[in-house]
C-alpha cells in the first residue's frame, strides 16, 4: 500500500469514524447513565435503538406523518415504554431479589421480547430502508468524501450530547441523577424521590437511543437484528470507563474510528471481532477505562 493511499484511508477512516462513532457515543451515553444511576447494565439498549427505528419508520412510511412529528412521537413512546419497564419490571426484580445478575437477566429478557414483538409484526423480516430528509450529495474535506447526511448525523449527535450534558450538570433533575449515582441512601435522605429519578434516567436513556436510531437509520438497512450494534456501544462505554459520560463519548468516537480503520486496512469482515478485541484489551490492561478513575471497591 503506497503512502498516498494510506493517507487517504486514514482521512476517510477518521471522517466516517466520527459519524458512526457519534451514534455509538449516543448509545454508550444511554448505557452509562443507566449504569451510573441504577446499577443496571442495560443489555436491551440495542433493542431500544432497533424498536425506535421501526417505530419512526412505521409512522413516516406507513402512517405518512410529517418527519418532525414522527420523531417527536417516537421519542415520547420510547420514553414511556422504558419508564414503564423500569417502574413495573425492574423495581419488582430488585424487590424480589436485587442481585446484579437478576437485573441483567431481566434486561436480556426485555431485549429478546422486543425483538420477538418487532419480528412478529412482520416488519422485521425484510430489510428496509429508512427515508432520508437530507438531500443526497457530498463534499470533500481534505481527501475524504463526506455526505450531507453524515454532517447532519454528526451535528445532531453532538447537539443532543451537549443538551444532555447541560441537563445532567446544571439542572435540578440532573443533579438528582448524579446524587443517586453517588450514594442512593444519602440521596434519599436529602429528599430525592429515588423511584422517580430512576424512572427518569430510563426515559432519558431510551430517548437518546431513539435519537441515535433515527439519525443513523437512513445510512443502513433496517433489520430486526440491527440492535446487535449494542456490542459497539458497550465497547465504547468500557473504553471510557463505564461510569464516565465524557468517557463514553470519547470511547464512542474511538470505537467508530477504529472500526472504520479496521474495515479499510484489514477487511470489512474483521469489523465484527474488533469490539471484542478492544473490550478484552481494555479490561485486561486498563480495567477502569480511560476516564473511570481509580477502581472503586464496593463496601459489603
Amino acid at each position: 500500500m503506497s503512502f498516498d493511499v494510506a493517507l487517504l484511508f486514514i482521512q476517510q477512516g477518521v471522517a466516517s469514524g466520527l459519524v458512526t462513532g457519534s451514534v455509538y457515543a449516543l448509545l454508550a451515553v444511554a448505557i452509562v447513565i443507566i449504569y451510573r444511576t441504577t446499577d443496571v447494565a442495560n443489555f436491551a439498549g440495542g433493542e431500544f435503538y432497533m424498536a425506535a427505528a421501526y417505530l419512526a419508520f412505521f409512522m413516516i412510511a406507513m402512517m405518512a406523518l410529517p418527519f418532525w412529528l414522527a420523531v417527536i412521537a417516537t421519542i415520547v413512546v420510547m420514553c414511556i415504554g422504558a419508564g414503564l419497564f423500569q417502574r413495573i419490571v425492574l423495581a419488582q426484580v430488585a424487590l424480589a431479589r436485587g442481585v446484579a445478575i437478576n437485573l441483567v437477566i431481566a434486561t436480556l429478557g426485555l431485549s429478546y421480547l422486543v425483538k420477538g414483538i418487532v419480528r412478529s409484526t412482520g416488519f422485521g423480516d425484510t430489510p428496509r430502508t429508512f427515508p432520508s430528509v437530507v438531500p443526497d450529495g457530498s463534499f470533500t474535506i481534505g481527501d475524504a468524501s463526506v455526505s450531507y447526511l453524515d454532517v447532519t448525523i454528526l451535528g445532531a449527535a453532538v447537539l443532543v450530547m451537549a443538551l444532555f450534558f447541560w441537563v445532567f450538570n446544571f439542572t435540578k433533575t440532573g443533579r438528582a441523577m448524579r446524587a443517586v449515582g453517588m450514594n442512593r441512601r444519602a440521596a434519599q435522605l436529602v429528599g430525592i424521590n429515588l423511584g422517580r429519578v430512576e424512572m427518569m434516567v430510563w426515559c432519558f436513556a431510551s430517548a437518546i437511543s431513539g435519537i441515535a436510531a433515527i439519525l443513523i437509520a437512513p445510512k443502513l438497512l433496517m433489520t430486526a437484528e440491527m440492535g446487535s450494534v449494542v456490542t459497539m456501544a458497550f465497547a465504547a462505554a468500557i473504553v471510557g470507563g463505564f461510569t464516565s459520560l465524557p468517557g463514553a463519548v470519547i470511547g464512542g468516537f474511538i470505537i467508530g474510528i477504529t472500526e472504520n480503520m479496521v474495515g479499510l486496512f484489514v477487511s470489512s469482515r474483521a469489523i465484527n471481532v474488533a469490539p471484542f478485541v478492544i473490550i478484552m484489551l481494555v479490561l485486561i490492561f486498563k480495567p477502569q477505562g480511560l476516564f473511570g478513575g481509580a477502581l472503586k471497591v464496593r463496601k459489603v
Binding site: 449504569y35 447494565a41 443489555f43 419490571v89 419488582q92 426484580v93 424480589a96 431479589r97 442481585v99 446484579a100 445478575i101 437478576n102 437485573l103 441483567v104 437477566i105 431481566a106 436480556l108 429478557g109 426485555l110 431485549s111 429478546y112 421480547l113 422486543v114 425483538k115 420477538g116 414483538i117 419480528r119 412478529s120 422485521g124 446487535s228 456490542t231 458497550f234 465497547a235 468500557i238 463505564f242 469482515r269 465484527n272 471481532v273 469490539p275 471484542f276 478485541v277 473490550i279 478484552m280 479490561l283 485486561i284 480495567p287 459489603v300
Partner: protein, 320 residues
C-alpha cells in the same frame, strides 16, 4: 478423597432417597427401552436433543449456579465442542468417545483461557467480556470457511464405536442417554464435594470465602473451565446423532435459551437445571418454526421469573 465424597453422599441421600433414586433409574431405563421400540425416529431425535440441552444446562449451572459468575458465552463453548468433535470424527475417523472428549477438552482449554483473562472482572464486566467472546466466536464459525464450512455449515460423519456406526437417532439413543447420565452423576458428585462447597462459598461471599482459606481466584477459574468443558461435551454429544451443523444455531439466541433453562430451573439447583432443560429442550423444538414467538416467549419468561420467582420454578415446591 473418594471415600470422603461417598461418605458425604451417603449422608445426603437417606435410604428412602436411595430407593427413590433406584426406582427412578429403573423407570428411566424401562422408559428408554419402551421409547426405542415404539417411538418414531423424530421423537427419539427430540429426546436426544433434550439430553444435549440437559448437559448444556449442567455446564452453565456449574459457573452460574454453583459459583455465581456470569457467563454469556455458552453457545460459543457448545459450538467449539461441536466443531472440534465433528472435525476429529471427520478427519481422523476417531471413535465417538475420543471426539467427545476432544470437544470437551478444547472447549475447556479455551474456557480456561477466557476465564483467566476475565479473572479481574465481575458482574457486568464478566457478562460483557463473555458476551463479546460469544459474538466473536460466532463470527469465527461463520467466516473460518476452510475449517468450519462457514455459511454452508459442516457435514459430520456418523459416530463410530468398535467399528459400529451410529447411523440413526435410534441407534445413538442409548449412547446419548448413558453419556448424559454419566455427566449428570459427575456434576452431582461435584455438587456434594468439597470443591462444590467451596464454589458455593465464593457465590455467597467472596470475602467470607477468602477468609476461611478458599482460593477465590482458583475457584472461579475452576468453575469457568469445568463449565466450558461440560458445554464442549454437550457439543460432542450433539455430533453423535446429528450429521450437520450450521453457525446460525450457535449465536446469542442459543445462549439465551440455555440461560432461560438455568434461570427457570433456579440458579443453584441441580434438579432445576435438569428439569428446566427438559421443558425448554422440548419447547425450543416445538417453536422452531415460529422464531418470533420463540423470542417473545423466552424473553417474557426471563422477565417474569426474575420478577416473581428469582429462585426458579422449584422454589414453589419447597427446595430449601
Amino acid at each position: 478423597m473418594v471415600e470422603a465424597i461417598s461418605a458425604k453422599a451417603s449422608r445426603l441421600i437417606s435410604p428412602r432417597g436411595a430407593m427413590l433414586v433406584a426406582l427412578g433409574l429403573i423407570a428411566l431405563i424401562a422408559g428408554a427401552i419402551g421409547l426405542t421400540s415404539f417411538a418414531t425416529g423424530y421423537v427419539i431425535y427430540i429426546v436426544n436433543l433434550v439430553m444435549v440441552a440437559i448437559v448444556l444446562a449442567l455446564g452453565l449451572h456449574i459457573v452460574i449456579g454453583e459459583c455465581g459468575q456470569f457467563s454469556l458465552a455458552h453457545a460459543a463453548f457448545y459450538g467449539i465442542g461441536i466443531y472440534t468433535a465433528g472435525l476429529v470424527t471427520n478427519l481422523l475417523g476417531a471413535p465417538f468417545w475420543l471426539s467427545l472428549l476432544a470437544g470437551g477438552l478444547v472447549a475447556g482449554l479455551i474456557g480456561f483461557f477466557i476465564g483467566f483473562l476475565s479473572l479481574r472482572m465481575r458482574d457486568i464486566y464478566l457478562a460483557l467480556s463473555t458476551f463479546a467472546f460469544g459474538e466473536a466466536m460466532q463470527w469465527l464459525f461463520l467466516n473460518w470457511t476452510p475449517v468450519t464450512g462457514g455459511p454452508n455449515g459442516l457435514n459430520i460423519k456418523p459416530a463410530t464405536l468398535f467399528g459400529f456406526q451410529f447411523l440413526t437417532d435410534r441407534a445413538a439413543f442409548p449412547l446419548v442417554l448413558s453419556v448424559t447420565l454419566v455427566i449428570l452423576a459427575l456434576v452431582a458428585v461435584l455438587h456434594v464435594s468439597t470443591l462444590g462447597r467451596s464454589l458455593r462459598a465464593v457465590r455467597e461471599s467472596e470475602i467470607a470465602a477468602a477468609s476461611v482459606g478458599i482460593n477465590v481466584t482458583r475457584m472461579k477459574l475452576t468453575a469457568f473451565t469445568l463449565s466450558a468443558f461440560v458445554a464442549g461435551l454437550a457439543g460432542g454429544l450433539y455430533t453423535t446423532f446429528s450429521t450437520f451443523i450450521h453457525p446460525d444455531s450457535l449465536g446469542f439466541q442459543t445462549t439465551i435459551i440455555i440461560l432461560t433453562t438455568v434461570v427457570v430451573g433456579g440458579m443453584g439447583s441441580l434438579i432445576g437445571a435438569v428439569g428446566g432443560a427438559m421443558v425448554f429442550g422440548l419447547l425450543s423444538e416445538l417453536l422452531r418454526q415460529v422464531p418470533s414467538y420463540q423470542e417473545m416467549i423466552y424473553g417474557g419468561i426471563l422477565i417474569l421469573f426474575m420478577m416473581y420467582a428469582p429462585r426458579g420454578m422449584f422454589s414453589f415446591v419447597g427446595r430449601r
